[in-house]
Amino acid sequence: MRADAPKRAADYAPLAFPALMLTVFFVVPFGIMVMVSFFQRQPGGFYTPDFVFSSYERFLTAFFGGVLGFSLGLAALVSVICVAVGFPFAYELARTRRRVQVAWLVALLAVLSLSEVIIGFAWSTLLSRTAGISNLLVWLGLMERPTALTPNFGAVLTGMVYQAFPYTVLVLYPAMARLDPTLMEASRTLGAHPLRAFLTVVVPALRNTILATFIMVFVFALGSYLLPQLLGRPQHWTLSVLITDQAVYQSNLPFAAAMAVFLVLVTLSLVGLALLVGRKESAA
């Protein structure tokens, strides 16, 4: 049976509830948020309807420029590490026995679903003085006495890589599973070393997939808001942290909304780019 065009009003019935819910509870809140970003803030946490750009102008200060630059740099660094390790990992994963694959997928999903609160708590414990990895190093005789390895930039980076790595593998996995195995076999038959075959055959064949994955992981890492707080110092705060801070603690909803709108624009243009790059691959 082919899908046929809806003819009577009754044919549209299944669409009613989903369309209503998504419009009322996603499109409308989003629209309100954009509107609020142009409102005039009053002292005391209130705001009045208006059309001013004062919230957007606050971006142009050096402080927010710094935060934005740091957020983008951190997300980029996380993505580079995740893709660099995740790419060969996903490739090998797609080539193991099915039973092993499924076990790994379950483990990756379990870690991916973990709350950022739990990841932050777990890593700060692992990097702490009393229960941390430094105790192991002392025991091995590599260190004098246990020390705390948090809060610092390395801790934030580690936590965010931990959070984004399973996501990276799961984004790469479908492409790896579909990769034609004869490509590798052919190059091996012609006498190429496995590493060389991987670098000269697999990587170029999936160049666009790598780029699209990098962008998706970048967007994912931009969303991290608790790990910079739990594992870092205030200078490691990202745009997501600032949005929460302005909305909840400073009661400055117009400014939070303006930053959110900006973040949406950045994200959407990146996702659009990823889709474009990914489409090229399937067309090629």
Binding site: F17, A110, A131
Partner: protein, 266 residues
């Protein structure tokens, strides 16, 4: 270095990296004293008991499970008719709703959280416990949408064709053919949304953070007063529940296929 050895080394390193924080957390969760030391001093499982006996932790657990179950049900209730319509009818413009359902999941979560905060404040429902159910239902609608569109794609249209030829209307087709075939995809979509809702912090915090404590909110709030073995026990419980649910999906369904890989030849 041979390919086999490379694979083994890489898998081991990744496994260590992923397991390390969980091993430490599991270790500190069985400390006999209320301290976080690793290796644990003494052995006790009382902190696991405290999750269920301590009123505050039990309340947070109940709230989390209730929110997760209701919002996952809502996500499926939105995703099912939408995927059915998109499969049954040729209406390219209706894909807009599918994109709307995917958007919250792709954007940084803080955006959805702030959108709902402004919305509930505007309509005057800020802080009501049910608002988080609606917010999570919309936020996680992507997951059942993905599993259900895969499910519908796997249904042989000839079956439906045959039923229609015999005079079955849409409702009968849905009840007797489509629903039994699509049920596993409904269950896995629900399960994915349930697990993620259980763990979600920022949307829950910005909608009902000051009136209702879900488990992630409770852990975060307790962090300020110092780390306790109970938090570690809750975290381990979360990992175990997630692994169990995804394990069940893998056991009774085709996990690689659900994650977008074509069913490989065994």
């Amino acid at each position: 270095m041979s390919g086999k050895l490379f694979r083994r080394v890489l898998f081991t390193l990744v496994a260590l990296f992923l397991a390390a924080p969980l091993i430490v957390i599991a270790g500190v969760s069985v400390n006999a004293q209320r301290t976080l030391v690793f290796p644990p001093a003494g052995f006790s499982v009382r902190w696991y008991g405290e999750i269920f006996t301590d009123a505050a932790w039990r309340g947070a657990l109940t709230a989390s499970v209730a929110v997760a179950a209701l919002s996952a049900a809502l996500a499926v209730a939105i995703a099912f008719p939408l995927s059915w319509f998109l499969w049954r009818r040729y209406a390219p413009w209706a894909r807009v709703f599918q994109m709307l359902g995917t958007a919250p999941f792709i954007l940084p979560p803080v955006i959805t959280a702030l959108g709902f905060l402004t919305f509930w404040t505007t309509v005057g429902a800020y802080g009501q416990p049910w608002t988080v159910v609606v917010a999570h239902g919309i936020f996680f609608v992507t997951l059942p949408l993905v599993t259900l569109s895969l499910g519908f794609a796997s249904i042989d249209r000839a079956l439906v064709e045959a039923a229609a030829t015999m005079g079955a209307d849409d409702r009968t087709i849905l009840r007797t053919i489509v629903f039994p075939l699509i049920r596993p995809y409904i269950v896995s979509g629900f399960a994915f949304a349930f697990v993620l809702s259980l763990n979600e912090y920022i949307v829950a915090y910005m909608t009902v953070g000051f009136t209702l404590e879900t488990l992630p909110i409770k852990i975060f709030n307790s962090l300020r007063y110092g780390y306790t073995p109970t938090m570690a026990a809750v975290s381990i419980l979360f990992v175990a529940v997630a692994a169990l649910i995804f394990g069940l999906i893998a056991r009774f369904g085709d996990l690689p296929k659900l994650l977008g890989a074509w069913s490989s030849r065994d």
